[in-house]
Homo-oligomer: 327 residues x 3
């Protein structure tokens, strides 16, 4: 938000320059992260994980105040950010029902943001309108973190997904990533495919034709040099899969109940499905899940979707510490 | 929730074993508390009371995070838990409008709990459905504290009621406890009668016939060896009463307005009522009160119902410290 | 709330007596502040400002708990109080949806307050009904701070406005204050005019006839010896103005759309308007603003309305510290 914060001395060594490149910056899109910055972020998130495991908390952000400004409810995301800030000793102004509030009445987003920045050191914003985070960042002198702006971006989701893979599989490089379900509508898989395609991975995109990965994402993946295959069934590619990323197939996306029922079973992961998967692979899901993964899978050590939530907290801890100049 | 946490070494002395018996455990029902554990809990709650009186707070739970997951609003209970956690230096993720949130949409309670446990060290759950707390505890590796599950249990209410009696009267043993009002529907009086019946108390149950104490509670009280009398009017038993526990008589419970009006006055406590009570006795009420206790009674030192709220905070401080292994 | 707290030893020197005069007291109205107390308050608020600028936070209220009891939403005010408490190391029980809560059902405000005081050290109350804060203060042994009670008072708003003028202009004494817009309905301008009239200022009240400053406020201003002029247009008085306080002119206040449109433009501040203003003057607004101040004005250094929000946090920090006996 502040142009002064963006001028980084160029004679610094890479790690220090990378670190500085994010201090005071807004987090708006995954596209702003190059591999150096991701490497630094994931390293910091890993340190957060070790710290929480060993001592539970650390006063790194003591006295810092985070405004959690949620124009639509998202308990999962807001709880993750609130927990992250608190584990670092910081405090939180929770504003989770902006809708009902007088602030919202006729006031522009920019004015609300300019008010909140008076009280806080960093603003986490969830908003239903695409572009809202960028608009907020323009108005704010304090860093703004995009926690989802409608059909726009949800960068911390993609970052936590990538960090989950790194922590669970040791590295992201050269893995086979299979995404399955509704690949057309999910901003989650779009951002993640974009991010991972920089790591030399191989993709399988498994979806019914009507819910296939959009052309612009495929183009970007191709540009980044990541090979991919499009399929309608999972069977053939499951045995070689390192990461199975499952997304929800929503009934509302289909023309008729029959169309939905015809397809639904194909993308439901059961204990039986996993008998054909590698022993060392993981199943991920952005949650909430409904029928896409049977509850019986939860007890399989390869089911990583709840651990994924915890990795999310570590990534958000690292991001908060970094934008506030403390990591 | 975690079987590993439940294995207590049996060669330990009783107090230490009692202490350990609750570390990492869920708090689901008053039935899980034997007299040793209650003794230990009340001792800890008493220490909390002294500490708050003297210094206001203590960093016992610094860095610990409590998720307050309220599926129905209960300002009194959530504020008490939040205040308790904060007085011990811990922090809180407040989730008080789960209804509106995307977490709730189609997600099972178990999945929501498995998500929240990733961010927190202990989960306080309020839910409208009986059995919800037990279901949550099964899903969670972190301790779950039941803050009321519909017509099920509300164990911390019964514990705070018992602690109030202990602090105000010196001891619970051998007191005469008179419960008055709607004894049929209140889970509060059911849990409390169950709990107190282990302390050699004598009960008077004063209610209109249609709102009498249910047979299964009377059976349990009898089993525990506590003598009781059922009455329809308070007059005869008031002079010998040590603890007068008043509950709300709700108009909706009666067939007609006349039935209600006929009964209402009988169970309303006024300054005049108390002229016939002991000098050293207390009046309790779970709150909110409406007409059952006249405002004029508030200034009587025997009116303990607001102090009761404060004892509630101490009991919750003790429980939080105990399940988190810090007391 | 507590009469004992109000007896201040009279042989103390003035500053100490002034300080003590507010310890443990309720903050209900601007009328309770004499110039000595205001001087002390603004000095403390100035210290808070320096402290936040230099180190960001200070553990002055560590272990203290503030209940934020909002019977109607006001994100701006609640966030400011929450941020203030947290920057001083204190913690907050946020109760921002009392409406929906069981506490509200049939329970008197006094009973709710008597419950909340059991958990907290200070209660911040926002309520739609005039007189609610005073009623709450009578019920409470803990200090109550009025954060707005309907058409009643909103004392911290007037205090922050006065503090803004002091910080931005060096002093309040002898300034020319021009208030413009709807001067009939705004409790903000009524309280502020009352407060400032003690400082030897000169007022211009600029409003359409139908929205002029009420007679009782004019009487009070006159009594306090502050000269004032009533006008319908801003033009003549703008060049001599030190503080231009703009308020919202709401369409609903007019008989017809035409009446509104005829007047609206007259009270809208643009970059062009300010070409005729002093170089050293400030533009204030209680926010939210809609059309009264053009966005182009925001980049003018004289636009003080967002800084005003920050001064609000400092004033609330000072008040919290003072009522809790720590400043």
């Amino acid at each position: 938000s502040d142009t002064a914060r963006m001028s980084v001395p160029f004679d610094l060594q890479t790690p220090e320059r990378t670190r500085l490149s994010i201090v005071g910056r807004d987090i708006l899109t995954v596209r702003q992260f190059d591999r150096d910055t991701l490497h630094y972020l994931f390293g910091q998130a890993h340190e957060m994980r070790k710290m929480v495991d060993r001592v539970g908390h650390f006063e790194l952000l003591k006295g810092k105040v985070m405004a959690a400004l949620f124009y639509e409810p998202s308990t999962r995301t807001s709880s993750s950010f609130i927990g992250a800030m608190q584990r670092l000793g910081g405090s939180v102004i929770p504003i989770t029902s902006v809708k009902d509030s007088s602030v919202a009445k006729g006031e522009t987003l920019a004015d609300t943001i300019r008010t909140m920045e008076q009280y806080s050191d960093v603003i986490v914003l969830r908003h239903p309108a695409k572009g809202a985070a960028e608009e907020a960042a323009k108005a704010s002198r304090k860093p703004v973190i995009n926690a989802g702006d409608g059909v726009g971006e949800h960068p911390t989701q993609a970052l936590l997904d990538a960090f989950t893979i790194r922590e669970e599989m040791g590295s992201i490089n050269n893995l086979t990533i299979t995404m399955v379900g509704d690949l057309k509508h999910g901003r989650t898989v779009h951002s993640l495919a974009t991010l991972l395609s920089k790591y030399g991975v191989t993709f399988n995109f498994v979806a019914p034709k009507s819910l296939a990965m959009p052309k612009e994402i495929l183009d970007m993946v191709r540009e980044n040099g990541a090979p991919f295959t499009e399929l309608e069934v999972l069977d053939d590619v499951l045995p070689a899969t390192d990461v199975l990323y499952v997304t929800r197939v929503q009934k509302e996306r289909f023309a008729s109940e029959e169309d939905y029922m015809a397809v639904k079973g194909l993308y439901c992961i059961t204990a039986h499905t996993l008998t054909r998967a590698k022993e060392k692979m993981i199943v991920m899901h952005p949650l909430p899940r409904v029928d896409e993964i049977a509850p019986e899978v939860d007890s399989d050590p390869r089911a990583a979707y709840f651990r994924q939530m915890q990795y999310g907290m570590y990534v958000r801890m690292a991001l908060l510490a970094m934008v506030l100049g403390k990591a």
